[in-house]
């Protein structure tokens, strides 16, 4: 049970360079794959391609194949893909559907779109709210939440479809520290709660150190390193690729440079 990239190349419509240039990657269910890379390395594109939104929604050209549990994303309709792979973006507010006056209805948006039975819709909303611990926000206006809360509501809206895979594109980058902690705590526990396979793009390597089983490093549209989380984060080439290692490692290295011996711990 995987999302598999095979020889994936992707170029946006009207662009000269491909954003992804030969990606071979596998995401397993029940595990977390972290993706790091400098700006413009293709991380966001990777998310869109993984979820099948590229090229289905934004045109552009896809070479190679992306298969979600055996189904190729090429030619699949977005609403079919929505049930297989959910996506969460950076900006919490622009993801709100703008159709709901309460969080409850916002979370119900996706199940309702698919025409599921009302009982089913209610079940899913309640479960999603419970999984993320935001049942108390159910009656609130989604437009009036803090960044972290809004992001969790968006996430609830996504998992209401119970997709076996989740793709998260820098979900905490527009949140303040409090929001970041809120969201990252929940994410960390999500795999256990739902058994989903999660692909998470993040700058915050500390966060990935906690969450990710495996990590892939992207540079100019290619995977330059991939392996177990702790190994990749300890790789000395990380900074060359424009990525700041987790604080534990940075501290250890700085200490070593000062002649003090401190064990290099990724966490």
């Amino acid at each position: 049970m995987t999302i598999a990239f095979e020889g994936v190349r992707y170029g946006y419509a009207g662009a000269r360079q491909p954003a992804l240039d030969g990606i071979d990657l596998v995401l397993h269910s029940g595990s977390v794959l972290g993706v790091v890379g400098a700006n413009e390395s293709g991380k966001s594109t990777l998310c869109l391609v993984a979820a099948g939104l590229a090229p289905a929604t934004i045109a552009g050209r896809l070479d190679g194949t992306v298969t979600i549990d055996g189904l190729s994303t090429a030619g699949a309709r977005p609403y079919e893909l929505a049930q297989r792979c959910g996506v969460l973006f950076q900006n919490p507010v622009t993801q709100l559907s703008g159709t709901a006056s309460t969080v409850w209805e916002e979370v119900a948006f996706a199940p309702r779109n698919l025409g599921l039975a009302l009982d089913d819709v209610v079940d899913r909303v309640e479960l999603a709210l419970a999984d993320l611990g935001i049942g108390g926000l159910a009656a609130r206006d989604p437009q009036r939440l803090s960044g972290g809360q809004a992001q969790l509501v968006a996430l609830a809206g996504v998992i209401a479809l119970r997709p076996p895979y989740l793709v998260l594109d820098e979900p905490t980058s527009q949140l303040d520290p409090r929001g970041t902690n809120l969201v990252s705590d929940i994410l960390a526990g999500l795999v256990e709660a739902t058994g989903a396979g999660i692909l998470i793009v993040e700058h915050k390597t500390d966060l990935l150190a906690r969450m990710a089983n495996r990590i892939a490093v992207l540079e100019t549209g290619r995977v330059v390193a991939e392996g177990p989380g702790k190994e990749v984060l300890a790789d000395p080439r990380l900074e060359d690729w424009g990525i700041s290692p987790p604080s534990g490692i940075r501290i250890a290295r700085a200490a070593a440079a000062a002649g003090v011996s401190v064990p290099e711990v990724a966490a």
Partner: protein, 275 residues
């Protein structure tokens, strides 16, 4: 009907509320806060028409007026019935979109000055047509209105011609001529469609600053319908031409990557494809 459903892709559906809200917000701010004698409530309509097509544009216009009329809090007045005009504006904008009117046309030298000349000429011709329109009481030399009205028309015509010519030359972009023509034509059609609505439903008065123009025309002897038409010929071409340029400037600064995702986007993308 694929042509129709393509006009209403998800992206267009997302753009429409934004366009409608811009229509209402800018219209409200310009008319009520800045108190200028223009409408500026069609930016979104023309934007959608050019990017997505005539039906999407028309629907944007119609919904803008209806929602503005019935929206709790800011609604009211005489806006609702002019949804017809707004629909026509959107339709025309779609036509301009198909014709590629809003595509940048970088030019230089004789081509550039030629375009500037064309633009200036068309503006002056339109101003002249309005100047001598029977609606204003006919030939000024044989009576009709006080020279004030005519002077203003001439003045606006000259300023508009200079602005359009300057735009073309300073930006080295011949598209200015097309944009000006599209705006002026839209304005004239809008005036013709609006006049019966204003005259028969509201007695020729719509409660905005332009009523002063209506009063002046009535004083000169124009009946209810002709006064409304005269006021329309006065305000609408100016308003729609300015709007046309605003839309053009906005579109010209969007990257090809963004434009290409809209149904008519490729017709707008210039040769200088900025990614």
């Amino acid at each position: 009907m694929d042509w129709l459903s393509r006009q209403f892709s998800t992206r267009v559906i997302v753009l429409m509320p934004i366009a409608i809200a811009i229509n209402i917000a800018v219209g409200y701010t310009v008319q009520t806060v800045l108190k200028l004698p223009i409408y500026m409530d069609s930016i979104g309509t023309i934007l959608v028409g050019v990017l997505a097509g005539p039906i999407a544009g028309a629907l944007t216009g119609i919904l803008s007026n209806l929602i503005w009329q019935y929206a709790p809090g800011i609604g009211g007045g005489t806006i609702g019935p002019f949804a017809v005009t707004a629909g026509v504006i959107g339709l025309l904008a779609g036509l301009w979109g198909y014709l590629g009117v809003y595509r940048p046309r970088p030019a230089s030298g004789t081509q550039l000055y030629g375009a500037a000349l064309v633009g200036v000429a068309i503006i002056l011709v339109l101003a002249w047509r309005i100047y001598t329109s029977p609606v204003y009481g006919g030939d000024p030399s044989t009576g009709g209105y006080g020279s004030g009205v005519y002077l203003v028309i001439v003045g606006i015509g000259v300023v508009a011609a200079l602005a359009v010519g300057g735009f073309i030359i300073l930006r080295r972009d011949a598209a200015g001529a097309w944009v000006a023509v599209a705006g002026a034509v839209t304005g004239i059609v809008a005036a013709i469609v609006s006049a019966p609505i204003a005259a028969y439903l509201f007695g020729g008065v719509t409660g905005s600053g332009v009523d002063l123009i209506v009063a002046a025309l009535r004083q000169g002897g124009a009946d209810v319908f002709n006064a409304s038409l005269g006021q329309g010929f006065f305000s609408d071409p100016i308003d729609k031409t300015i709007t046309s340029f605003v839309v053009y400037i906005v579109l010209a600064s969007l990257s090809t990557r963004v434009l290409a995702r809209f149904p008519l986007g490729e017709r707008i993308a210039g040769s200088a494809a900025a990614y």
